[in-house]
């Protein structure tokens, strides 16, 4: 052993890092060419459809069909409504979705090496009180049974494999996302204090006996003591608590960006605390903090919903006109493939589209409540999928499911193949997430005008913060831009009057399902809102 150790030492010292750095700076001519072209494509939600909708379509429908219920929008909320109707009624349901596939923000792609998400990619273990969701997870065989104590057994192919998360901080990949590597003790103390406060909030209940923070959000306590937190920004709340550590602020902001696409200064304290304090899951075969995830992200869930959503799902179908005539709801849509318009006459309608679409479509419905739509604000998101020869190795914890870079304006990347049992894939596929919280007109403009090359460069520069050599590994880099990625829970939005008004069904005929109406854009809310809307329609 001794001789071998000596050799190892020697090899290390012969390769000492300083030399590498020196060689790099002293000899510019020897670096790789910076202008290497990266192959890839730019995607986004149907631009053509969006444009058509804005300029207005004046097509006269060539044919008319009768159905019981029309669902507009085939995202998670629309599919969830369809599933519920399918399971609990005899209604003839028709779902209209403008994209070629259902799924909405829970969309995915696939290449020769892996499937990968284009949007939502995980579901945290749901609270055991969320029985409707648990039921669906049973049907999807995500829950395979319950143990003697009644705790769900999750399918272990879908429980996030270990190692789950790592953070690149101070030159090192530490385990977990809460900063600790080389973090000064004073900051660590604040982080502990913050976590203790969140643990308290997790158990806190209001005067009405409900949990202060719950999922679905509608089940949270109405006690003012908690709801008034919605008036503050998270930044103010942290200040008030004397939590000023930059490491802590970074972490809390990371979480706000991850769930809401908003900064500390933009996000309601109630919403931000909800992120930390609303989850109390218990599982028979997992720690409580795991997530459920798939190579294709939440599109896996959306596909399971679709399988139960009934036979009449029409994709590539853009709804451009909605009217209430006598007892009927008139819905006109354009088949984007054939350019033919169809009129549906329905008894009821579920709208599962974001607020800005709904506004347009409801323009001709006089009974629609006037909602201050300016209060619905969105964060654009950029998602990139990279095919790499190999994710460059770094110091510390090896490649994990979620890989975050401290100090990057991105949210890092997810290993799309993490849930594969294959130990050594030929190529690696990672999904990079980048929210754009900046609401300035210039920034919004940039979102729509930037070219693929610009996004590519941005993605690579962010990744280089942890992987200086990543360019050499990239084989393909595709980008998806979500112009209206996520609803932002700005202060006053969640418990203000407008959100509530917008969620009210119109004349018992039109119900609203989109997750915008929760103020928090997560799978559980979209799933819940869909069921809620379906129930409203069935009871009226």
């Amino acid at each position: 052993m001794k001789a071998e150790e000596r050799r190892r030492f020697l090899k290390q010292s012969a390769l000492a890092l300083g030399g590498l750095a020196l060689a790099g700076t002293a000899l510019p001519g020897c670096g790789t060419e910076e202008t290497k072209q990266v192959a890839g494509r730019l995607f986004g939600p149907s631009f053509k459809a969006g444009h058509l909708l804005r300029t207005g379509i004046r097509k006269v429908p060539a044919r008319t069909q009768e159905v019981d219920v029309v669902i507009i929008g085939g995202g998670v909320s629309g599919l969830s409504a369809a599933r519920w109707l399918q399971k609990n009624s005899e209604q003839r349901v028709c779902l209209l979705e403008l994209e070629d596939r259902t799924g909405g923000n829970s969309q995915s792609g696939k290449n020769a090496h892996s499937a990968f998400p284009w949007g939502a990619h995980y579901l945290p273990l749901p609270n055991n009180s969320n029985t409707q969701l648990l039921r669906f997870l049973e049907e999807a065989k995500l829950i395979t049974g319950y143990d003697a104590a009644g705790l769900p057994l999750y399918n272990e192919y879908h429980l996030c494999f270990d190692p789950e998360e790592r953070l690149f901080i101070n030159g090192y990949w530490q385990e977990g996302l809460v900063p600790n590597w080389s973090v000064p003790p004073a900051d660590l103390q604040q982080i502990d204090r913050f976590q203790a406060l969140m643990d308290e909030m997790k158990q806190a209940k209001g005067a009405d006996g409900r949990f202060a923070f719950d999922i679905p959000l509608a089940h949270s306590s109405s006690d003012d003591q908690f709801r008034q937190l919605d008036q503050l920004t998270m930044q103010d709340w942290l200040q008030k608590q004397n939590l000023t550590s930059t490491y802590l602020s970074w972490y809390v902001e990371y979480c706000c960006l991850d769930d809401f696409g908003g900064t500390l200064a933009q996000t309601s304290a109630w919403a931000a605390i909800h992120y930390f304090a609303a989850r109390r899951a218990q599982a028979a075969n997992s720690d409580a903090h795991r997530v459920l995830t798939w190579p294709q992200g939440n599109h896996w869930l959306a596909e399971r919903l679709r399988e139960q959503a009934g036979p009449d799902l029409r994709t590539g179908s853009l709804v451009y006109n909605l009217e209430v005539a006598d007892d009927k709801i008139v819905v006109d849509y354009l088949d984007l493939a054939t350019d033919e318009a169809t009129r549906l006459m329905a008894k009821k309608c579920v709208m599962a589209t974001p607020q800005f679409v709904r506004e347009r479509l409801l323009a001709k419905v006089p009974a629609a409540p006037k909602v201050n739509s300016r209060i619905f604000t969105y964060a654009p998101w950029v998602v990139a999928n990279l095919t790499l020869n190999q994710v460059p190795a770094g110091k510390g914890i090896p490649l994990s499911w979620d890989n975050v870079i401290y100090g990057s304006s991105s949210l890092g990347y997810v290993n799309a193949q993490h849930q594969s049992v294959v130990g050594f894939p030929d190529k690696q596929v990672i999904t990079f997430y980048y929210p754009i919280p900046d609401t300035s007109p210039a920034s919004r403009q940039a979102v729509f005008t930037r070219k693929r090359e610009d996004w590519t460069e941005l993605v690579l520069q962010e990744l280089e913060k942890a992987h200086p050599s990543i360019r050499e590994e990239v084989e393909q880099l595709d980008v998806w831009v979500w112009g209206h990625g996520m609803i932002k829970p700005t202060p006053g939005f969640i418990w203000g009057p407008d959100r509530e008004a917008a969620a009210q069904p119109i004349q018992n005929k039109i119900a609203f399902a989109h997750s915008d109406l929760s103020g928090i854009s997560i799978f559980e809310e979209a799933f819940y809102k869909g069921i809620k809307a379906a129930q409203q329609i069935l009871t009226s």
Binding site: R8, K11, A16, Y157, F161
Partner: protein, 503 residues
């Protein structure tokens, strides 16, 4: 502005002295790490080096004309010999019969050249200084250079540049001084053209060496292996190296010992026979991992076996063991047997999609040293495994050392139990590994072992197996977590325990 010629020459003395000492230190460090016994290495190297300098000084008397040109020439030679010395030593370390010879030859050559320099420079300067002043100045700079070298070598050079780059770097300093002198004395010096070209050429070579030194190292596995390497290949998954000494062959994957030909029979007999001997008329056997064909060799001893399926990720390994003379001898051509089907793919993925059932399954994966391999020891994997075992069948799993890594070993056992397997833990002494652990596992309630082993086995018999089933007082069974895909408990135990053992 022309720098004063004396200053320039004294500066070269300083550089020469620093470089000279650095080369000596590099050689000493290398020798003591490669050969051990640093006291001996350092004192012999210093001795040889100083003596060679003496030879150089003596030889300086034979240089009578063109002193500056000769000085430049010697300087270039020092640059090249000194600059490349450590790389050469690295590359040659286990490729030459007598490494010491090469080492001392290089040390002497450097010593002689450095020894030439000071007398030459003193003679160049003799007309420009009074003798008293000359001696004082030259030796002052000489010794200051030596001091500088001996301080920065351990503090800056080794930790930051490493040995190879240190040599190249000082070679470059030597060559740089030579080039400077060329330009300075371009009018006075003979063969100036040739000298300039040789300066530039040596600088180019040294820069290349500096830049490529890590690649050079990557090519030499010589540092990781004690014995002579007779075969080495990098597959997409791992580095495969076969070494040989007088007694044995050893196979390394990514630097980890897989087996030694001198005692692998112990390992493979222990792995295969307790389980396979207990299955009645086994017909179909599955081997996962084990691309070396050594477990297959043991399996083929059973006449009832009609088919062996071997699933190993790495085609480079199975090909090597099917074609290399030495290795084919070792596994008795097992992989070429008509009964054997070799499949190169990921074992988990394969097992998940396979519908076949086997009477016995041998699992010989690498140790769970990383998360990719940790998956192959998870409860999810063992649940899939269960489906692949025919009624009355069993499986055996190599499970790392119960002595060095007891938590890791018992974690494998407990994980199997959690999936409803009946287990029989046992262990064997394999000298090149130490105390090694295996787990026999059956989906049934009972696990009766047939102790009547075939007589031609070299290691295993009934009495030995009785012992193997006993875990002594210092290695009792332990409670551990179950290894799951979502906790990778085993990799954590394994890392923890082996890290302690090695440190």
């Amino acid at each position: 502005m022309r720098i004063n010629v004396q200053v320039l020459l004294l500066f070269s003395v300083f550089v020469v002295a620093t470089c000279g000492l650095v080369y000596e230190l590099v050689a000493g460090t290398l020798a003591s790490y490669l050969l051990g016994d640093s006291v001996t290495q350092f004192s012999t190297i210093i001795g040889v080096y100083l003596f060679s300098m003496g030879i150089g000084s003596y030889l300086s008397r034979f240089f009578n004309r063109n002193l500056i040109a000769w000085f430049i020439q010697v300087e270039v030679l020092v640059a090249v010999v000194g600059g490349f010395s450590s790389t050469l030593l690295f590359l040659l370390f286990d490729r030459v019969a007598s490494f010491q010879m090469v080492l001392y030859l290089l040390v002497s050559l450097t010593g002689i050249l450095v020894g030439l320099e000071i007398p030459l420079i003193m003679r160049i300067l003799e007309d420009r200084f009074e003798f008293k002043e000359l001696v004082s100045k030259v030796f002052t700079f000489d010794y200051i250079g030596a001091l500088l070298a001996s301080v920065i070598f351990p503090l800056l050079l080794v930790p930051h540049l490493g040995l190879l780059r240190t040599s190249f770097f000082f070679g470059l300093l030597n060559a740089g001084v030579a080039l400077w002198l060329c330009f300075y004395f371009s009018k006075e010096v003979k063969w100036i053209h040739f000298l300039r070209i040789s300066c530039v050429a040596s600088i180019v070579a040294l820069v290349a060496g500096f830049v490529l030194s890590d690649r050079i190292l990557a090519f030499t596995e010589s540092l990781s292996y004690a014995d002579k390497i007779i075969y080495s290949v990098q597959s997409p998954y791992q580095k495969i190296v076969l070494t040989k000494n007088e007694r044995e062959f050893r196979l390394f994957l990514n630097g980890n010992l897989q087996f030694s030909s001198s005692d692998e029979y112990r390992y493979h007999e222990a792995l295969v026979h307790p389980g396979l001997n207990s299955v009645k008329y086994p017909k179909k056997v599955l081997v996962l991992g084990g691309g070396d064909g050594l477990a297959v060799r043991e399996i083929l001893r059973y006449p009832s076996v009609e088919k062996v399926v071997l699933v190993d990720l790495d085609q480079a390994v199975t090909k090597l063991f099917a074609s290399h003379e030495v290795l084919k001898n070792l596994n008795q051509g097992a992989l070429l047997s008509k009964k054997v089907q070799v499949i190169n793919t990921d074992a988990f993925q394969w097992l998940k999609t396979s519908q076949e059932q086997f009477d016995f399954v041998v699992i010989d994966f690498p140790d769970p040293a990383n998360y990719a391999i940790g998956k192959l020891y998870s409860n999810t994997f063992y649940k899939v495994l269960r489906q692949a075992i025919a009624p009355g069948g069993a499986a055996v799993i190599q499970a790392t050392s119960p002595f060095v890594a007891p938590n890791a070993y018992w974690c494998v056992v407990n994980t199997l139990v959690s999936c409803g397997f009946t287990t029989l833990p046992y262990h064997a002494h394999v000298p090149s590994f130490g105390d090694w652990g295996f787990v026999l596992a059956s989906p049934d309630k009972m696990l009766p072992v047939n102790g009547q082993f075939m007589p031609q086995l070299r290691f295993l018999d009934q009495a030995t197996f009785e012992q193997m089933r006993t875990f002594p007082k210092d290695m009792p069974a332990r409670q551990t977590e179950v290894n799951k895909l979502n906790n990778q408990a085993l990799v954590r135990y394994f890392e923890d325990e082996w890290a302690h053992y090695i440190n």
